[in-house]
């Protein structure tokens, strides 16, 4: 992979120049938290953020998306907004890892999702290094480093960024601002290694994932699920903020008085009681405890069976957004019989 160096002092110029590739979105402050939004001036960008409220998935699987319009003559696909070019500036490695997981679900196999595919093609991803906080456990989930899924990635080397070029588009971006970049020197590589080592030691949360599938099978009837079922409000916040939750509902809307309307899909969650309910009224996951068990099961074990790795990326968003403080690492460590070390 092509590597270059960008002095940190020139990052703003780079952001200015790459606007020709699309509308630049970056994490900006929203109260005490952060969110990806269109960048109107460089000083709004907060690249020192720990996490955004919603992950970058909102750009690829929008909360509400019109798939078709229909009339009495049938359904017509909607393409509005799909060709909009965006550049996401400052995506953390774990979130890129999350996008790679969504790629496996939405792009691989015999039925690739054309809406997701179009957005993935038109939204560029520029990654940036980060410092873990007390709710980050991406290192345990092996999501703290990615080698694909981005156009460029900036790794911190002190007063410059080590730039990895991931795609031809990333290369075009670098070439469009070639005067800003410098070649990487041996002392830069040493600086990167030192930084990487220091970062590894900053993680405060740790969870062993290697034999999670076996542990989950054995603890299928554990009392912990009843306990969580009592606590969980089924608000769905964890699913909304999760980078790899992708369940959706599809509804036809109707224009009053006409046989016309649209077919839309919107975010859904297995925590809602309607998720497993079939026509005729039977519900395969009636109990709250069954639903929260399913969510954990699918994310930490089920996904492993199909794709070889858990779909949890360790970003900590569910930890900070759960209104009743259900803490995923605590749950996993309890299942494993290990005391949770905060």
């Amino acid at each position: 992979m092509k590597t270059l160096k960008l002095p940190k002092s020139k990052l703003d110029f780079f952001a200015a120049v790459i606007q020709q590739f699309g509308e630049v979105h970056a994490p900006v402050a929203r109260g005490d938290e952060f969110a990806f939004e269109r960048l109107e001036r460089w000083s709004d960008a907060r690249l020192d953020y720990n996490r955004t409220i919603l992950p970058p998935k909102k750009y690829f699987l929008p909360p509400r998306e019109e798939m078709f319009t229909y009339t009495a003559d049938g359904y017509v696909p909607s393409t509005e907004g799909l060709d909009q070019k965006l550049v996401l500036f400052g995506v953390h490695a774990c979130d890129v890892y999350g996008l790679n997981i969504l790629d496996e679900v939405f792009l691989d196999g015999p039925h690739p999702d054309p809406y997701y595919k179009a957005r993935r093609r038109n939204v560029a991803v520029i990654g940036i290094d980060c410092i873990p906080d007390e709710n980050c456990f991406c290192r345990s989930m092996r999501a703290d480093f990615v080698d694909k899924g981005f156009d460029l990635f900036f790794y911190d080397m002190g007063d410059a960024f080590f730039t990895l070029v991931g795609t031809a588009l990333g290369d075009d971006m670098v070439l469009s601002a070639a005067s800003l970049f410098e070649p990487v020197a041996p002392q830069d590589v040493a600086a990167y290694k030192a930084h990487s080592q220091a970062k590894a030691e900053m993680f405060k949360l740790d969870v062993e994932i290697r034999d999670l599938p076996e542990i989950f099978e054995m603890e299928y009837t554990s009392a912990i699920w009843e306990e969580l079922g009592e606590k969980c409000l089924a608000c769905g916040a964890c699913s909304m903020v999760c980078p790899t939750c992708y369940c959706y509902d599809v509804q036809d809307t109707v224009k009053l008085g006409e046989c016309a309307g649209s077919r839309e899909r919107c975010w859904d969650t297995c925590l809602f009681s309607s998720h497993a309910r079939v026509a005729g009224g039977e519900n395969f996951r009636e109990e709250q405890s069954d639903r929260i068990k399913f969510r954990f099961y699918h994310k930490q074990r089920g996904f492993v069976a199909e794709y070889g790795r858990p779909s949890c990326i360790g970003c900590g968003r569910c930890i900070v957004s759960c209104p009743v403080d259900i803490h995923v690492v605590e749950v996993l460590n309890r299942l494993r019989g290990v005391a949770h070390v905060a």
Partner: protein
């Protein structure tokens, strides 16, 4: 003219949304409606686009997603066999918003159909051997595609046995068609009802599971395809296991809530499998191996 570098160029990715979109329903016309039993009618469809009508092909056991504009979409098993491709037959139970809307429609009305989806029966593994098809009540709807597939490809299979049971004669689907099979020498057809108040039933009066007493099944050479309400599964499985059937030779068709049909919306999940991709045909081994199966 401003060099507007922000104007997007036409893209193949956008074209893929317009053409070849896996979620796009194809127009199909209702060409026949037949009331079979209360709240379970047989609808026959033909695709409007002759190219699609010509190229649509399915495996027995697969399903389609049926769209009624304004009502939504629902998965329906295909009852017709791929060996008779000119029309698409769906035996639809009236159970929710989409099927309600379908029941209000008449011949010549337009619906949307896309598919086929699902794994279908593993016919490649079943050829050369015997096939037992056991259906209870409305379970005949998905099983019928396999029934006619085996009959139309008769030379590829060994012994064929059909067991079909219902509460009473009025609750049986395809009644006349089933009766016509009884005298065929190429399939052993056993029809049974729990009770026959009208006294007109010409065949067995007993439980579905008891029809095994009249059949000659070799578990080593037979694949058993079972479909019906939960109570049917329980008793049939008991008999099959008692006979010595291996768990992966017992095939079941399961239903779940579906919104996409292609393994993306998450609603049809059973444990960590998706009914629309790994099913709807599962083996009994899958059933006991995956949590929350039956």
């Amino acid at each position: 003219m401003s060099p507007n570098v922000l104007a997007p160029a036409p893209q193949p990715a956008i074209e893929a949304v317009r053409l070849g979109n896996p979620y796009a329903p194809h127009n199909a016309r209702i060409v026949g409606v037949q009331r079979m039993v209360e709240d379970n009618h047989l609808f026959t469809f033909r695709f409007v686009d002759p190219e699609i009508a010509r190229s649509f092909s399915h495996r027995p056991g697969q399903f389609i997603m049926l769209s009624i504009p304004g009502a939504g979409e629902a998965p329906i098993s295909i009852s017709s066999s791929p060996t008779r491709p000119h029309v698409l037959e769906l035996c639809v139970r009236r159970a929710g918003r989409v099927t309600d809307a379908l029941y209000r429609m008449r011949v010549n009305d337009l619906v949307g159909i896309r598919g086929p989806y699902g794994n279908g029966f593993p016919v490649e593994e079943m050829v050369g051997g015997d096939v037992l098809m056991a259906a209870g009540g409305l379970g005949m709807a998905p099983l019928r595609s396999l029934l006619w597939y085996t009959l139309d490809n008769r030379s590829q299979f060994g012994k064929l046995t059909l067991m079909y049971g219902g509460r009473n004669p009025e609750s049986m689907l395809y009644r006349n068609e089933m009766s016509s099979l009884v005298d065929r020498p190429d399939i052993h057809t056993l029809l049974g009802v729990d009770a026959d108040p009208s006294g007109t039933w010409k065949y067995h009066v007993c439980r579905l599971a008891d029809l095994f007493d009249f059949a000659d099944i070799d578990p080593r050479t037979t694949h058993a395809a079972v479909c019906g309400p939960p109570i049917v599964y329980r008793f049939i499985l008991q008999r099959l296991l008692k006979l010595g059937f291996s768990k992966d030779r017992i095939l079941m068709s399961l239903e779940r809530h579906m919104k996409c049909g292609v393994g993306k919306c998450g609603h049809c999940s059973i444990g960590y499998k998706y009914t629309c991709i790994h099913g709807p045909i599962f083996t009994y081994w899958d059933a006991i191996n995956l949590p929350e199966m039956i």
